[in-house]
Symmetry: C2
Subunit: 404 residues, 2 copies
């Protein structure tokens, strides 16, 4: 049974709906008379060490609802990965504040952090209930059909490429857009969702699940350009050569690595510029443009999936119920029932923690540069109710007089 | 009086509402019994030369309304600037199709093209009525209080920086976002509109109306970081040193120039990367991220100002009425009445064509890295009715036990 003090924190990269999960946990936990207080740790696990807690029991429900609709971790975030000494500090703080239930909202790395804490709790004999609540725009958590945060980011990417494809149709040329996704191509693949007319872009989609070759890249573009007179390309930041070398690192002067050993891929336009330079150097194309969709993918205000909002909320609520009913650690996981309903389960932490899911083969077209209809069918119900669709003029052409 | 065949075309960079003006022209022109046909030229003036016309008289009103809500030039665009031979071809086509009224929707360069055509028409004694209908996300047309396309792009930039500022609040560090705007800082200045709490970013805003120095840039950042522990920076792509050297050209390997002599600034991440490299090289800051907002500023689906939509429509409608009533060439201009109503007038083409307006001094703060309240007051009514606002947790901190 859920008792005493409940702690919630947020880790890793923000999403558009991560505060929905936080609000879900706080509001649901406050329903339990046996719960004294709901604390929020600032900046993830680092806030536990520093005793930077907010007393969320005192947060008004009205304001919690407003914060829930605000993108990015309202409690702040961290990429810290606790070592043994760090864990000791965490348990010192948890003990001092008599906290025995911890909800950590995060992705692969945050679930890994939680697994480390759960193992340490057993070792030091501290009764800590650990519940991981999923979020990641990368959609790469194992066990889950999909993860909160992904549908909204996917909607942003879809809208972005739909717009850029219209722009490219108006002014022609080659456009390369770099999308987040280190190992998994789900977000890059979402660029296909906004296609409507047969010649809409993106015309080429490069996901990290398939090896990338600069030579094949060029011949792909030439083929599309011959047919369409233009080419819109979606590229994952994680594309790599057959030997595993990241295309992005070919240019980067210095590698920046976070506490989890991840190389910095976002926050630089290097990959887009490398690719457009490669096209300009090796072809005669005049208008070649490259850009990086960047942090807007996870933080943009005003582009959120209502399905994603509801599921992120529910993931938090269910996490609290699981903690109360099942009395075991775990990760809240989302499963697809029919077409389409989300079901929530509590899976073992070790099935999710630190693991990475990538796109299944059935989602990637045989040509390796497109998605399958099965992928679109997978993504469509997640994108929510208010997707916008572009339209074209349908008027007939006027018969030429001079050039007839 | 408006008679015979009416021609409409779109030039320059697309906007989110450029099709509203096109729909306004087509629907209003179709109300005149004296108008036989409304033609649309594909890809601006180049479509006239090639006789690539659509018969928009046959476009259904329902589909025109759907297209009006779709971003980017539905008729396609061009950056061609007609020389004498080009003009001869244009008039050959206009004459063959018996077109005597031409509405060109575009910015500085397109209005300049129209002025060239109007002058040529007088020279060759061809009775061509030329009406320029304004659009540009840069907001840099003279005479106009503001231009259709700018409010929606400004809303995108505002939402983008509001989100990025939340992201930066969660994970800290330095963020540099590069915004479109070659000579005028209006769009970069719009990054300030999403600020709400006192410490919200952007904390520094660099507009091309003020000289830029890499040294001052560093000291500005250090000052902000000392105070806030983080720094969000909005930079115009057109920032330049005191001698006029573009900061972007300091890095670019080769200069790409269009028919109007403009250097390519968009479609590359070079400026953001130069600035972040400069920060990384000269400071100890660890998390320094740079990105370019790029084409999403003018093409993103789902981020449009309803005020902008209505005004872009009205600019087209009024253009047709002016052509009918006033029987002279001109540029439709928008004027601000009170706080706030838009009034449309027909100004002489030469007052707008090829000229560039920049931010007035009253809109730029004395520190040179911020806007004034007067600017926010100028922009706010344009952004429309559905601006989203971020919210923060308000719960009190828990008293520290260990660290007290």
């Amino acid at each position: 049974m859920l008792t005493g003090k409940i702690l919630v924190a947020q880790g890793g990269g923000p999403t558009a709906v991560i505060n929905q999960s936080m609000a879900g946990i706080v509001l649901e936990a406050r329903n339990f008379a046996s719960v004294d207080h709901v604390y929020g740790a600032l900046n993830g696990v680092s806030g536990i060490v520093d005793e930077n807690f907010l007393d969320l029991s005192q947060e008004s429900e009205a304001n919690l609802e407003r914060v829930a609709n605000t993108p990015c971790s309202a409690l702040g975030s961290t990429r810290d990965k606790p070592d043994d000494a760090y864990c000791t500090e965490i348990f010192k703080s948890l003990k001092a504040h008599d906290i025995q239930t911890f909800f950590y909202i995060g992705g692969n790395d945050s679930s890994d952090t939680l697994k480390i804490l759960a193992e340490k709790a057993a070792t030091v004999n501290y009764p800590l209930r650990c519940i991981h609540v999923p979020k990641t725009i990368d959609n790469d958590l194992t066990v889950n059909d999909h993860t909160p945060g992904y549908p909204s980011a996917a909607k942003f990417v879809s809208n972005a490429f739909a717009g850029v494809s219209l722009d490219n149709r108006a002014l022609r040329g080659i456009y390369v857009g770099v999308v987040m996704g280190r190992h998994a191509g789900f977000l890059t693949a979402a660029s296909a969702l906004g296609r409507k007319y047969e010649d809409d872009g993106p015309h080429l989609i490069y996901m990290p699940e398939r090896d990338f070759s600069l030579d094949t890249f060029l011949s792909d573009i030439l083929r599309v350009y011959d047919k369409r007179g233009r080419c819109v390309i979606a590229v994952s930041e994680g594309i790599h050569e057959a030997d595993g070398t990241l295309i992005a690192t070919k240019l980067a002067k210095q590698q920046e690595v976070d506490a989890h050993g991840n190389v910095q891929l976002s926050g630089t336009g290097a990959l887009a510029d490398l690719l457009t330079d490669h096209i300009k150097t090796n072809t005669d194309f005049k208008r070649v443009r490259g850009e990086t969709l960047g942090y807007l993918q996870r933080s943009f205000m005003g582009c959120v999936s209502d399905v994603d909002q509801a599921e992120a909320r529910e993931a938090g609520v269910q996490g609290v119920r699981f903690a109360n009913q099942l009395e075991r650690d775990g990760s809240v996981t989302i499963h697809r029932i029919g077409d389409y309903k989300a079901e929530f389960r509590l899976s073992p932490l070790e099935d999710v923690a630190g693991k990475t899911k990538v796109m299944e083969d059935r989602f990637i077209a045989d040509c390796a540069t497109d998605v399958t209809p099965e992928f679109l069918n997978y993504l469509r119900p997640l994108a929510g109710s208010n997707m916008i669709s572009p339209y074209r003029l349908e008027a007939p052409s006027v018969t030429k007089i001079i050039g007839k």
